[in-house]
Symmetry: D2
Subunit: 343 residues, 4 copies
Amino acid sequence: MPQLSDSAKKHTVSVIGASGYSGAELTRLLLHHPNVELQELYAFSQAGKQVTDLYPSLSCNKSYLPYSGQMESDIYFLALPHGEALAHVPALLRAGKTVIDLSGDFRLKNTLEHEQFYKQKKSPDAVMTYGLPELFKDQIVKGNSISNPGCFATSIILGLAPLFLGGSTPIPLSAVNCTSVSGISGAGRSSKTELSYSEMSENVRAYKVGVHQHTPEIMQALGSSATTPSFDFTFTPMIGSLVRGIYSILNIRLERPEKIETLNGIYQSFYRNAPFVRVRESMTEVRHVAYTNYCDIHIAQATRSGSVVIVTAIDNLLKGAAGQAVQNMNIMLGLDETTGLLL
Amino acid sequence: MPQLSDSAKKHTVSVIGASGYSGAELTRLLLHHPNVELQELYAFSQAGKQVTDLYPSLSCNKSYLPYSGQMESDIYFLALPHGEALAHVPALLRAGKTVIDLSGDFRLKNTLEHEQFYKQKKSPDAVMTYGLPELFKDQIVKGNSISNPGCFATSIILGLAPLFLGGSTPIPLSAVNCTSVSGISGAGRSSKTELSYSEMSENVRAYKVGVHQHTPEIMQALGSSATTPSFDFTFTPMIGSLVRGIYSILNIRLERPEKIETLNGIYQSFYRNAPFVRVRESMTEVRHVAYTNYCDIHIAQATRSGSVVIVTAIDNLLKGAAGQAVQNMNIMLGLDETTGLLL
Amino acid sequence: MPQLSDSAKKHTVSVIGASGYSGAELTRLLLHHPNVELQELYAFSQAGKQVTDLYPSLSCNKSYLPYSGQMESDIYFLALPHGEALAHVPALLRAGKTVIDLSGDFRLKNTLEHEQFYKQKKSPDAVMTYGLPELFKDQIVKGNSISNPGCFATSIILGLAPLFLGGSTPIPLSAVNCTSVSGISGAGRSSKTELSYSEMSENVRAYKVGVHQHTPEIMQALGSSATTPSFDFTFTPMIGSLVRGIYSILNIRLERPEKIETLNGIYQSFYRNAPFVRVRESMTEVRHVAYTNYCDIHIAQATRSGSVVIVTAIDNLLKGAAGQAVQNMNIMLGLDETTGLLL
Amino acid sequence: MPQLSDSAKKHTVSVIGASGYSGAELTRLLLHHPNVELQELYAFSQAGKQVTDLYPSLSCNKSYLPYSGQMESDIYFLALPHGEALAHVPALLRAGKTVIDLSGDFRLKNTLEHEQFYKQKKSPDAVMTYGLPELFKDQIVKGNSISNPGCFATSIILGLAPLFLGGSTPIPLSAVNCTSVSGISGAGRSSKTELSYSEMSENVRAYKVGVHQHTPEIMQALGSSATTPSFDFTFTPMIGSLVRGIYSILNIRLERPEKIETLNGIYQSFYRNAPFVRVRESMTEVRHVAYTNYCDIHIAQATRSGSVVIVTAIDNLLKGAAGQAVQNMNIMLGLDETTGLLL
């Protein structure tokens, strides 16, 4: 991104879809980021309202504006419902803007899988660099358009990647079963009865078992595919009585057993340059990562028969959305990856 | 109600508006009540669904039916949004049915106050016996149509009544300030964004300060009036991060101070025959009354200058709605007041 | 149990260890059970207190008594911490009492596994009939001493049993990975910092991965063994931000794939006479079973490669503890299994 | 504090009692404060542990050290249980250190009230500048030892102060009744059973009605006294199902009625230079201030008879403790009041 980094002035940035929870987190992070100037916050149903009408905790005196193709900033973040970014991104890219999209619209290379899991058509070229910095930093640093990973996908890919990519050769495995509990904010700023406090307090509920749209994203990032998987894979997402966080239990069946110390070594080595991944020897919890951009990983069990249990935790709105998006921006701008993200 | 009690057979009962939270609690209570046979469950937007589609925890194999004037049962409970019972109750009463209405439609004698607080017109004769058993049992036992009290109103009136009605003469007071925290189920089975888990977890919010519709109901039950009050009265309702329960702090300014022992004596005496009111010498909590029909009352402070602090707790869906409705039915049927309510 | 059932009078029952959460649920259930008379409630650290000091929601005017070998009742429930029932049960059995023990002291036949997982010695004969009615009713009905299953174990065994015992031959499987979220009440009435509201609100935490004491109990009930397992088995228990409930995700790897309809048929058939197990075609949630004795089972996914995902839900204090204990008592007494448990 | 501000280098700071919730918030704020260098974190029962053992979400690689009179820093924050700061502060002051104490040990000028409400003796000179910046900035800026206000006290004093101090003359009032809901973190990092998740989820409980130690602190700040009050005052503290936040309902009885617009004008004017107080025309909620240093104030009702209802909200760990302490430090250091507090 030479057009941005050769200047001492701040990069200008706007957010399209700023009124949802991810948009509000982006707003908070960008307002306090030392290298950018937050310009406009665009919204659709909430256009016209003050930011503080919806989010009084943000010290932000802007209003949400309707978006009709404005191009005033250097960088655009899009935090729109799935399917809506497709309409705005091409024009932004043609105008030379840097784009970071938080939706699922540009994540999948396989259009059939996109169609199957998102129930939406898209053209084969609607794919952008997959913005998981711990795996694809080389591509991100050269890119100008980023598709920011899904929240569940982030927590699962980071917990599995060293097995696939960490050693001199991948560790052969036959099956991965993922079970994740998400905070309810992952469903967005919603008015659904089933997400009301009265329904979700003191509750846990699985949903979309086997059909969640992060399934092909996970397989793709690991070099496999949801339609022709190279190992058995299941993913059971759940929501529980919490607002923020994703807690994933990864049950892995290795072809041959590995000692827990060996695995810890592989993971520590794989993430040695990743400031936001903490491979921890003690158990992690959602509270350990809430309101941070960290992904905690703990290898909890490795049996003599080859079963491995790995636990990961992230904040779904930060490392699972807005925080990771800013991390991607930092990398593209040549800044320290952690700029504005250690608060 | 001689037409009901001269028979050994069970009384038949139906619920109109059975798919909301109060309706579900009524369903649960009536299914296990030894003296009634639950016949039909009527609903509007949910008509056609199985009860267990909405409430799998209820052991009930009925479906919600649309209501179009059916008259098959002896007793009808109505648990409808405010304004909707007005359309159904007159026909039921003309047909000789026993009616217990849980809405606000028939609570207020003063039609101007009704209009002001409910923003709805009603005719001056649309008033039924106010079903607060601890105060008006004599009228309830003779009645065949009951207007069931509001949840906040129940928790506040029971906490104040002995001062007005408990001694040989009322204890003169100049001001009452009520502050109540309600569980979110009091807002009904809702799809409003501001009642979503993500908005209400770890939150407290006041609302309708000074304009809540239970204000005139409280004043009326105490022999006063919202429009011409005989003492200063304010009421601040709040919702907090809980599903069930109402916790009320009553700040009372007596004209002359009373000792806490004197007040305890007056309260104990006033409620000596009330099986569901517990005047307790130790602090009460929402948990002490959740899932019960009890109203706990604790006199927490009585200063030498005449300030009194009283704390009350109820379950808003039981003593504040469905439980009290069944208590009223028991009284009308000549049964023990606690029948089916001590589970 | 002929000594109990040949009489019209009520069976007398006492609870040893009545002041914890399971003990309080037992108290509630036994107080309202039509066929028993609750006599004494024994406690240790809480002896001398009123029941309503600890549990004001219980309509119970008894006090907790210290236990020193009293024998006044026909039936004894023990709800003590692990290791403490061993001291009391033998004398009760010698005196001809019916005993239902809710601890882990008498569950495991393999004393080495008991020692490994409970870190406590026991004699090889300290085993009682394993009281999971849906699997072992024939033995329970003939028994006079019951070891009540663990809460996680109940939710997992019921979700797996039809695969092992449901068809004409077991369905061959190679691996089972269990991930369960428990309500925090499962940890007992506790004063640990890590279970405080401030630490556990909005949190999820795994613990005892691979070493939880319900592991050998599950394997034993399924005809296998933790030390010489016939299939790969892992169990990851978690606690989350809820008080009551266990929600288990069972990831099963079949040797050959089965259709979801076939599995549903096997499960429906296996539990056709089990009034508290509901094999449901729609997703279950903790809320669907909270405050009930039901175990809900939903077969969520069955892939062409043989991966199966099954979701189960129970209330840990009812079907996972006190409710199941009363269900066992009902069976021993020749009563309908559901007596006193459908409230 | 000229000895500190005449230098370009950072001020050094240490925290005594750093392992509790207020201490952890101080740690977080001071780590990211641009003008200070956090040196040592002292703890007592937790000495020897890593900060990340207790608070993995803090990016802090320090350990807790035992405190035995070290004097290495310019500034000392004390976040100790009541009664323990008395032993450490005098030596720090004699050594010329700047001290900000978050306990109640140095708040009350009246030693009899201190003794009555804290049940602890103290010498009459153990009083420091009361660090409520919105009222006492002139004294704070000149001070070198600050007693940081209590959390309830902050939320109540800020909601009342303009009536006493805001106009050309005080607005005469006869009574104030305060009802406050606090997050459970206000009780500290605790292992009490009554603060466990299982006891406090879905609960509300009042406590210390009439005897809470913030009562004399509030009266003192308003120019009155708990022992010889110039108006009737009651305070009912509650804890509810939330970790952070204080929500206060202030019921005020004016001697003569004021219009709500007049009151809003007085409040707006009084706080026109207070960056952390927001006098809001719409209702506030705990969520609006959680994780911020703001105090929101909303005048909700003003009746023709002189009853006024004011609602205030703060984060108990920030504006109610650590945030306000840093705000005080900023003022003493001559920095912008908001430095390091707008994240």
